[in-house]
Subunit: 406 residues, 4 copies
């Protein structure tokens, strides 16, 4: 093919990426370095070592990136109340920049000239991996086997395994899910299978991280979330690291049937696709973050954040985390979070994450002004007349000159 | 005071606006025309006639505006998926432009030179009424008694009633709610009382339109909503008028504990306030509308809508319905809704309004392309390489020239 | 290659596209239909007929599209005051959608299954032609010879001509310009040659449509432009068709050294390029349009237009004229132009296009309010106090609570 | 009136603010502190001392703020290429926040409880002074004499002077200009007089800072401007302080007839007004800044800046410099300026400020890729096919499903 000498592969330890190891060795006649990360997907990563060794891999990277993932990627994203197309919390999108960054760093460490991944040619993930790779190491060669090979069916993959002595237990260990799934500390996603019909309701046994609202407890759970600089730093008064926060909220949310989502979304490559997501902790975080901002943000910065958010979400969804425009937006967002601190009290109940109270030393809520009772002159109602009169002036002039207003 | 001859008052028939009738007559020595509208607030409007007559009013307007309200105000607003500050469905805001328009039309019909309303000098509603009034009749005189008089406490109001023989049954008919409330077909709102402490949880007996999620049925309700040009035109296959749709969805939502909201919001006059809202039907509509758009809107128009929405919400919240900027935004929004048609299937269960399916003759979802199975060449995965390479080009050039990317 | 039967080629009659005719016939063994349009590039189009015939073309389309070009593309774009990256008036970009549309219409008329163009693989024009083609005829085959063939140098092209008996007078007729140029009624552009060094000043003899400011007359020229619905409909009181307006303004602007531009721009394919442009009429139109809008547009719609404009410019520059997002933006823009009517008086002098006066029956300028003299109560200065007080309220509350403001 | 003890007045030394000194002393029976600043208005500030003393003022502040003004206000604003309503360079707007800040600082130093200014109740400046004042000292009392007193004509003012022994030479020193003017290092502005008719051309003898293009030299002047972090740090290789840069560019621009502007603008208080401006140095800076950005900014950050700019301009024009939203926008803007460095070469000639070259060590212009010549494989033209195909996918799907595209 080309003159690749060494390639770093994002290796899950599963069947597909194991085939890719072998296929890279054969096709490119190159050395393969595997990189396996724990980003909270809920599966052991250590077994990937033995599997990689069995495939003849000499340089094996296995890492726990959970804290870095939540602290440096999930948290900054949530500061913007980021939602793609009104619904999607970007659980898959936000994990890719970290993987891309580590692939490149490992390539630099091991002297590799290429990186590779197991994402298909139809999806967003190839874009996210590769944009990150090119942005961080412009001369890197990217190998995307799914865009190159002819192993386009399950049968061909299995035949390839047999032919190349790739241990069969990979495939048989558990019944293959009918869904294409992806998981990390922020969410688990499901695509394909019956979901390809947008009218078909998802089967109840598809969902893995949450009980159904119906199966959730009949008693509500209350929780208090403490924020500092826009990030959750404690739950019910207990200080926690970023990834511990998300793990705990995932448990609480999942137990209460919170965070299921079923949508049709627009991929960057130009097609619509249907996906189901479970984001229990993220769903709670988003609501809580908006609540603490409602007390502590100025109106105009809050509105400006809301106007920028869809663009910021698009940037992340499309794979441009490592870009000047993301840094520019992040600078604006982070500037607003300096005083986003305080406590939000939430009620979790059968699918609902309900804000029931919020308080903050940085609160801009002024009870003495807002009150319906006597405000002792804190607010002069007569000011409103001039306020309205001048805000109406352009409309009055236009109407006075006969301009139609309705 | 000034030389007002006749004033049209937005008259609810309640204590406050009854006092205003008398106060206007006395203070301005002018004739008062009352205008009372049924916009779905859930109270009879006809009794307002007798009350107005008792106060000596000769021109009394009582109107059923429910269909006009939903068709010409609520529906256009929902086409934009409008949400203020990430949470609020603008239930109060959207009713004001219609009231303002009718006040002005009645002023024109009756030869009145002024309009009046019962909104206080601290809130948004005075702004909405008056901006609308000025935009539609630039020379109109606006009288806002709460900004002028000294009846600043309940006691003074009651004393005024006694002094002026305003029938006492107004006040005694039912125990005065501790909350300031507003209702129409889209929502009911609560402010004041213990809600003035943002940390205090709303009392369960405050809510009037919905049962609590806990009290909702243990069996989910499924419903199919049919859209045409972005609006719901049928429920479970039955064609309905706009206001019938909202009435029915309010019932279904309220029965299933859907649509309660508890927020701190930023008022246009510059203060934060805490409000609780019940918007059962609107909550269902918003989700369903996003779902039908997810199938039928192009990606880029959908994203542009999302970027414009916060501005559009601000325009409505701040009272600028009757403005060139609202018409401009509406033109853009309505242009996108021509093909927003189809059916959304929803599951309503204990506070949750869940989309479980969507279908449309106008669907842009292409199963033959999106499939994880063999697509028979509908999509060429090799195209993705060039797509990514050129999208990465600016990032690669920058990195190649040593520009820092992280 | 593939099974193309008939292809419609955007044919200029020049050397490159003449080679393409032959190359298509040979490579695809298909019939070629030529399409040559007068969009004001300033060269005769009729000679293209003989040349095409000489190349064996049977179906030859030669059309005068000047009026359609200005009326349906240039004018709508100028309603938005469209400028790309602060400087570029999009002269090339705006001509492509019309060419794409005619290519597809001719393909439909002649039963062709493919279209072809002479744009290279590095530029924006390939994108604009092809996005338009795909949007209007999704199954069309696009042939872009410059991305396929190996005639990558002038020498190879000349050799190909000789080998295939392509009349040599094509090449020799005039000394080949060192620049890559494109022209239509809106502008002429120059790229390549010494311009590839952004530090190098363009040579004075490069410019073709305008005299230098130094060479322009020492006497200023005054002109009055009449607008209706945002478009210029008369010059100095003489009603003119759209393309006549632009022709006349090009003459007046060019004579006065107006409309030269020298910039570095960001191409959609990811690279920066340096281009020089002459847009004499467009430069005058832009200034005049802003001037008539300054009298007739409401402030908020004007500001919203300014916020949307960069996106609208990007949509056109990137080739998405035929897209839902462009139509959505156009709907918003056109909604604002209903009352953009009146006369702008301009002074043209040695490179300067200066607005010196503007008047309109639709003017929203209110002299009785704006005056520095006694306004007889038209404006109540005391209103300003309340206006400022409430606009400051959020800032005062924040500062009062110790929030840092500087 | 109220219980003001000491007030800090923005004092120019002219007639109007001298009257204000006396009027404040009389009306409020309070002590007056005067503050006079040199911000480059081109008049001596020291004479204000004697005048203030003559009026009985004990605490007199006279300061040279030219460097602070340009470095901390003008330069940050120009980093955003800020233009209000497509034309206005915000010369008046940007000086107000600095004055407001010093008024408050002096109030804090002198124990004053109020500030005062000489701006009228119709304009933007009152808003800018007062918003700044309230944001920086929320409890401050603001006295705006023009909104309070009855000295509403020149005659009344003169009578007041006579009555109160305000030295007459104030008024007689020079013939009163028919225009309301404001000047600082960035610009000089003219309003009122015959300018109140938007159709009337400004008289040639009105302009003070620039010669007319006609009167400018027949030889062009070339100048090289060196940028660092988005700011000009040297002219023709000579390092200069910020205010020296602007002084020098004002001279060069004014000598060459550059920077005159005649517009109708929308004031924040709701009316349109006509203003003429001379901004010689700013006009050159804006063009030069865009030129250096064209080489050194990434495309997407550049486009995002362009989209945010109108909002940023509005924030400054409306007087919200000291606000969270301005800081948020500034954070985004400044993030992009880290690599905006290099040299721009400009030609100044009879009203034209023309960019003729730009170079930078931080350039992202890649000649090896952009070239029309053989690029030795730096760019693979075949990538463009996939790029276009996938960008067209959503359009092709829509068209394939019969969705109308034109």
């Amino acid at each position: 093919m080309s003159d690749v000498k060494k390639v770093v592969l994002a290796y899950s330890g599963g069947l597909d990426t194991s085939v890719i190891v072998k296929w890279l060795q054969e096709t490119y006649n190159c050395e393969v370095v595997t990189f396996t990360a724990d980003i909270g997907q809920g599966e052991e990563v250590e077994p990937a070592r033995t599997k990689a060794q069995a495939l003849g891999v000499k340089e094996i990277y296995i890492e726990d990136l959970r804290e870095e993932f939540v602290r440096d990627y999930v948290y900054p994203m949530f500061r913007a109340n980021t939602v793609y197309e009104g619904e999607y919390l970007l659980g898959t999108s936000i994990a890719r920049p970290l993987i891309a960054k580590r692939l490149i760093e490992i390539a630099n460490e091991t002297g590799a000239d290429a990186i590779s991944h197991g994402a298909t040619g139809k999806g967003n993930d190839q874009v996210r991996f590769e944009l990150g790779g090119y942005a961080l190491k412009p001369g890197v060669k990217v190998i995307a086997p799914w865009r190159e090979w002819d192993l386009t069916s399950r049968e061909k993959l299995m035949a390839y395994c047999e032919e190349h002595n790739i241990p069969v237990d990979f495939a048989n260990k558990k019944k293959k899910s009918p869904y294409s799934m992806d998981a990390n500390l922020l969410h688990i996603s499901y695509e394909g299978g019956i979901l390809e019909d947008p009218w078909a309701e998802a089967e109840d046994d598809m969902w893995r991280w949450s009980v159904s609202p119906e199966a959730a407890p009949d008693q509500a759970t209350y929780v208090e979330l403490t924020f500092d600089k826009g990030d959750i730093v404690a739950i019910d008064g207990e200080p926690l690291k970023a990834h511990e926060v998300l793990e705990k909220l995932n448990k609480m949310g999942g137990d209460n049937g919170i965070g299921r989502l079923d949508i049709v979304e627009n991929r960057y490559v130009g097609m619509k696709s249907r996906g189901c997501y479970e984001t229990p902790g993220g769903t709670i975080m988003l609501r809580a973050h908006r609540a603490i901002e409602s007390l502590t943000l100025d109106r105009e910065e809050a509105h400006l954040k809301d106007q920028l958010m869809p663009k910021y979400a698009e940037v992340i969804y499309n794979g441009y985390w490592w870009s000047p425009e993301r840094r520019m937006l992040q600078a604006a967002i982070d500037e607003t979070q300096k005083n986003v601190a305080g406590v939000v009290r939430m009620k979790l109940y059968k699918g609902n994450a309900i804000v029931v109270g919020r308080k903050s030393d940085e609160s801009l809520f002024d009870e003495s002004i807002a009150t319906f009772e006597d405000d002792a002159g804190a607010y002069n109602q007569k000011d409103a007349e001039g306020f309205i009169k001048l805000n109406a002036l352009r409309l009055r002039i236009a109407a006075g000159k006969g301009r139609k207003q309705s």
